[in-house]
Structure formats: structure tokens, C-alpha cells
């Protein structure tokens, strides 16, 4: 094992995959000269040239559309969205083209590409640079959506996403880029579609992903001290969702809490709640609890952002309330 940052981990994934497969290339705004705003592409052009690490015009629609076209013509592109918030600019390309081409054309060719989307709350960036938009993408059949919570998964999932023949949206939380963590020395990929039981417990199942997963771990530590044993699940992939792991855990603990940074309304937590309500309501000893952001845009001022933000305390309080 070695200890590297999340951003370094995604860079290693790119380096290894670009070296392994010459069809892999990446394009986006300010990624070649600048190395990406989070340093996640630093050194990549020196290694592979600006023919494979391309600075694009500020044309999100053309970036995603061109990657789709290149994928159909035999390449394996990675498109960088700069900020996940900008994906709205090219949403048509994402949900009408990229997601549908394989199904709608009867399986003639999949769109083998990755869309990298840095998301989440960071540095009081406010309403248009801090969103967690993942639920939109989970509502679209044909896309796979992955969302790592630590450097090891960031690397493994990015490699898996690049190798996957299907279009994959890869969310990377901006506040995680500097996070350090242990990453295996040897080659590995993290399977898409499999959640991970991060910690076993017997009183309550706590499901989370991305940045919030790290807060859930802290919440679980607090609860543990109070004698509440928490089973922690890191979803890692949010579409398709790993129902089996969730249902198995709920069967064991009889309680379910879900925590994410995105607004609660219409969020991934709602989907998981519905799955468990539909398929395992008999197992439950308490109503399901969801922790998510209030239904407002992300505010700017510190106290407001603080109030908006999910914290370990908020998660722990929600879980306490269901015991």
C-alpha cells in the first residue's frame, strides 16, 4: 500500500489506462496546460501529448457530443466537465444521445466513454459551483453512475469506468481531491455495480456515498461509543444500485438510514427508501430516515452554508432518533 491523494489516484488511473489502451484520450477545459483545476491531470500531457490530453473550447455540448461521436468511431474518450454544475449545458447530449444510442439503435454499438464530473460543496462556491446533481443521472436508463468516497475507490472506479463499454458518469467530490488514503501498489479495478460493506454492525444500516460517506464513518464512531452498532454501506455505484447488499443488511439490522449531501427531495435516498419499502418493509423495526440537504440552492454566506451542510452530528442525531 501507498498513501496518495484522491486527485493523485485519479491521475494514476488515467495514466495506467492511457498506457494500456491507446484508444483512451481525455478532453476538457483547462486540463492540459493547467493540469485540471484540482490537479487531477497534472503531468498527463507530458506523458501522452496534447493529441490525447486536449484543451477544448468552452463548449460543453461539443465536448460531450464529440466524445460520443469519437466513441462511436472506435475511441474510448474521457470528457471532463470542469464542474458537475456545467453538465446542464450538455444535458441533451447526455440523456438523449449518450444514454440512448445503444438501446435505441438495437445494440449496434455502445457509447464507451466516461464523463468526469467534479461535484459537491466546497469553499463557499455557492449555488452554481457546489451542486450534487447525481440524482438526475440515476433517473436515466442507459447510464452507469459511480461516485467514490476515497482515493482507493477513486482509482479503481475510474479504471473500471474507462474499461466499461457503457457510458459512465464519474462523480468526484471537489472536497475529496486533497484527501489522502491508502491505495494498493498493484493493478486493480473496483467493480461497477457493487456496494461495499465498510463496517459490519447489527443495530442499524447506514447507507451513504461520496464525501458524505466519510461523515457517516464519523457519525458511526460517535454512535458506537453510545452503544449503537452501525453497519455502514458505501454505495460506490448509484446506478445501477446494488439492491442486494442493501436488502441483506436491512434484513440483518432492521433499521435503515441514508445520508447524502444532495438535496433530500428526489434524491438517491428516496430511491433506496422506496426499494426497501417495496421489498423489505416487513424487516423494518422503525421508519426509514433520510439525511439530505434542505430543498434550496446551495447558499453562499458561511452560517447559511453551514446550516445547509450535512455533518456527522446531523447524521448521528437522525440515527439516534430511530432507535
Amino acid at each position: 500500500m501507498k498513501t496518495i491523494t484522491f486527485s493523485q489516484a485519479t491521475l494514476e488511473a488515467m495514466q495506467e489506462e492511457m498506457a494500456r489502451d491507446e484508444r483512451v484520450f481525455v478532453m476538457g477545459e483547462d486540463i492540459a496546460r493547467q493540469g485540471g483545476i484540482f490537479g487531477q491531470f497534472k503531468g498527463l500531457p507530458a506523458q501522452f501529448g496534447t493529441g490525447r490530453v486536449m484543451d477544448t473550447p468552452i463548449s460543453e455540448t461539443a465536448i460531450v457530443g464529440a466524445c460520443i461521436g469519437a466513441a462511436l468511431a472506435g475511441m474510448r474518450p474521457v470528457a471532463d466537465m470542469h464542474f458537475a454544475d456545467f453538465a446542464g449545458v450538455c444535458f441533451d447530449e447526455i440523456y438523449n444521445q449518450m444514454a440512448k444510442i445503444y438501446y435505441m439503435f438495437g445494440g449496434q454499438k455502445p457509447v464507451s466513454m466516461v464523463l468526469r464530473a467534479p461535484d459537491g460543496l466546497v469553499n463557499q462556491a455557492a449555488a452554481q459551483h457546489s451542486q450534487s446533481l447525481e440524482a438526475f443521472f440515476c433517473h436515466i436508463p442507459g447510464l452507469k453512475v459511480v461516485i467514490p468516497s476515497n482515493p482507493a475507490d477513486a482509482k479503481g472506479l475510474l479504471k473500471a469506468a474507462i474499461r466499461d463499454d457503457n457510458p459512465v458518469i464519474y462523480f468526484e467530490h471537489k472536497a475529496l481531491f486533497s484527501m489522502k488514503g491508502e491505495v494498493p501498489e498493484e493493478e486493480y479495478v473496483t467493480p461497477i455495480g457493487k456496494a461495499k460493506v465498510v463496517r459490519e454492525g447489527k443495530d442499524v444500516t447506514l447507507v451513504s456515498y461520496s464525501m458524505t460517506m466519510n461523515l457517516a464513518v464519523k457519525a458511526a464512531d460517535m454512535l458506537e461509543k453510545e452503544g449503537i452498532s452501525v453497519e455502514l454501506i458505501d454505495l460506490r455505484t448509484i446506478s445501477p444500485i446494488d439492491k442486494e447488499t442493501i436488502l441483506n443488511s436491512v434484513a440483518k439490522t432492521s433499521r435503515l438510514a441514508i445520508a447524502h449531501e444532495a438535496v433530500k427531495q428526489g434524491g438517491v435516498g428516496a430511491e433506496i427508501s422506496a426499494i426497501v419499502a417495496e421489498e423489505a418493509i416487513d424487516c423494518l423495526d422503525a421508519p426509514i430516515v433520510r439525511v439530505g440537504a434542505p430543498f434550496t440552492p446551495v447558499p453562499f454566506a458561511r452560517p447559511l452554508e453551514q446550516a445547509y451542510r450535512i455533518t456527522p452530528d446531523k447524521i448521528a442525531a437522525a440515527v439516534r432518533g430511530m432507535m
Binding site: 464529440a66 461521436g69 468511431a73 438495437g106
Partner: protein, 334 residues
């Protein structure tokens, strides 16, 4: 208000064209025309469901362009995509079956008319989203460049679609990176019920090429020879690595926007006049007969062959099975 500007015929002597090319021109145009007439009939008979947009009157464009393309070149089509698909060399049987929603269709009955595609001949898809193809064609061209082939991609689009932002983003990117993509405008004068001049800021779409630093060329889109020559020049230029271009083909949409369109927005006389003066198929016939480049008999033979192929395609489509309901969940992921 919206009559097609009459343009001079291509004046190059027909002796320049070998018999194969002339035959390709005629056979492709007749194939598209008859395919579309058949589709119209079976739509009205209730056997073809969904939205159907016909290409009648615009056959010379697809034909003239595609005569310059290889199977390995790519095209992105529009919602009016049957003609492009046929001209790129797709199998009529599977196309027709797709329109009927059959399991033997080129998209296994998952696409229908608006989403017809045949990747085996480089036809990367019709599109229900107007202007959806510009950026994807640009990407297909980028791939060709990265793979160091001398292949090209052609993005077909209508005058209406030229007002989408996708056009401008793709044109800039393609020009900035000198990608081998041709933006092929079929200006049929109409965007659904709206005459083109009322919504578009320039007289000619090709003028917009200037803003992106690429050539913009205008031709009579109902003259297959003119389209062929202009497309040839721009495509060869793109193959040499000299970058993208816009080719605007002035043509006219003879039928309604979609099959069943009551066409309240124009007069029958306007359409009749265009048909009489500029219909690309009689024009081609008159020209080759006059120049003695082809005989009546040769034209007749081609028409008979097309009729036979079409009858077979129809029979295949009508007798093919519908997809099993289990196919609903098939093909979401690889």
C-alpha cells in the same frame, strides 16, 4: 414567399462521369423516392406507426454527397433520415422492417423512422433531436484524425437546425482543430411550418462559414451533378487534412413536415411549381437522355430493379415477427 431560388445547372460535360457513377446517381435517387412513397402509403394504411418525415424532393443531396463517401466514412443524419441511410448503402429490408417496428429491423424495432441507424455502413443514426448530430459528427471526424485515416464525417442538417447552439459549438471546434467534417445543410426552405427566412439571420446558411474560418459553398441541391462536384471538392480537402467546410444545398421539401401534416402554411401551387421545375429525378433523366449518356432502356432497367428490391423489402418487413416483450429489458447495457 419561400420558393426555391432557381440556380444554374452544373455545366460540366456528362462525359466526365463513368457509367457506374451515373447509374449510382439514378438508382439511389429512384430508390429513395420509391422507398418514401411506399412508406407514405403504408403509414396511411396504418401499418407503419410513429412519426415519419419524408425526404421526397431532396434525393439529389444525399445521393450527390454519398457518391463521394466510402463505407468507412461516417454520417450523422437528421429526423428526415431515410434518404441518407439508403444512399450510404444500408440494406432496404432491415430499414423497412425497422419502420414497421419488427424484430428484424436494423435497430431491432427499438428505434423506428426517427431513430434509424446502420453502423455497418457508417450511418451513425438519425436523430429525434434537431441539431443532435453536429457535435457527434465532429467527434467521429476527430476519431478519424486520431486514428490517422483519411476518413471523413458528414453532419447532415436542415436550415432550422442551423440555429441550434450545437451547430456553432461544433463548427468552432471542428475549425479550431481542422477536423475532417463536412457540415451539410439541406436547406429545404422550411423548418416544420416556419419559412426559413423568418427565423434565420442570414440569407444563406453557408455565409456562417466565414465566422468560423472555413469555406462555405452553395449549390443547387436538386442537381445531383452540382452536389456531387461541390461535395467532392470539400471532402477531398477534408481528407487532405485541410479542415471542415459548410456545403449548403438549396432544395425544397415536397411533402409535409411529417406524414399527415395538413400543410396549412403553404399553397399547393407553390409545391407544384417546384415539382414541375426542379424535381431532381426528371431533371436527371432529361439531362442524361439529351446527352445520350444513358438510354431510356437503361433507366427503365434500373427502375425495375429498384421496384423488385423494394417489393422484397416490403414483404420481408410485413412478414417479420414483432419483437418479444422480453426484448424490452435487453440491450440497456452491454
Amino acid at each position: 414567399m419561400c420558393a426555391m431560388p432557381v440556380r444554374k445547372e452544373a455545366t460540366l460535360p456528362l462525359a466526365r462521369y463513368d457509367k457506374e457513377t451515373l447509374k449510382f446517381f439514378y438508382e439511389t435517387m429512384v430508390k429513395i423516392r420509391n422507398f418514401e412513397l411506399t412508406v407514405e402509403k403504408f403509414f396511411f394504411d396504418g401499418e407503419i406507426p410513429g412519426f415519419v418525415h419524408l425526404y421526397i424532393g431532396e434525393e439529389a443531396t444525399a445521393t450527390g454527397v454519398m457518391a463521394n463517401l466510402r463505407k468507412t466514412d461516417y454520417i450523422q443524419s437528421t429526423h428526415r433520415g431515410h434518404g441518407h441511410t439508403i444512399a450510404k448503402g444500408a440494406d432496404l429490408k432491415h430499414m423497412m422492417a425497422e419502420l414497421f417496428g419488427k424484430s428484424t429491423g436494423s435497430c431491432k424495432g427499438k428505434g423506428g423512422s426517427m431513430h434509424i441507424a446502420d453502423f455497418s455502413v457508417g450511418m451513425l443514426g438519425a436523430n429525434g433531436i434537431v441539431g443532435g448530430g453536429f457535435t457527434m459528427a465532429t467527434g467521429a471526424a476527430l476519431a478519424q484524425k486520431m486514428q490517422k485515416t483519411d476518413g471523413v464525417a458528414v453532419a447532415f442538417f436542415g436550415d432550422g437546425a442551423s440555429n441550434r447552439g450545437t451547430f456553432h459549438e461544433a463548427a468552432n471546434m471542428a475549425a479550431a482543430w481542422k477536423l475532417p467534417v463536412i457540415f451539410l445543410c439541406e436547406n429545404n426552405q422550411w423548418a416544420s411550418t416556419t419559412p426559413y427566412r423568418t427565423t434565420t439571420s442570414v440569407d444563406d446558411i453557408a455565409d456562417r462559414a466565414q465566422g468560423y474560418g472555413m469555406p462555405g459553398v452553395i449549390v443547387d441541391g436538386n442537381d445531383v451533378f452540382a452536389v456531387y462536384e461541390a461535395a467532392k471538392e470539400l471532402i477531398e480537402r477534408a481528407r487532405r487534412g485541410e479542415g471542415p467546410a459548410i456545403l449548403e444545398c438549396k432544395t425544397y421539401r415536397i411533402k409535409g413536415h411529417f406524414v399527415g401534416d395538413p400543410e396549412m402554411y403553404r399553397t399547393k401551387e407553390e409545391v407544384q411549381k417546384v415539382l414541375e421545375e426542379t424535381d431532381p429525378i426528371p431533371r436527371f433523366e432529361a439531362r442524361v437522355l439529351k446527352a445520350k449518356a444513358m438510354t431510356k432502356k437503361e433507366l427503365e432497367t434500373i427502375r425495375t430493379r429498384v421496384e423488385k428490391e423494394l417489393a422484397e423489402a416490403l414483404e420481408f418487413a410485413r412478414t417479420s415477427p414483432e419483437p418479444e416483450v422480453s426484448a424490452l429489458y435487453e440491450g440497456l447495457y452491454v
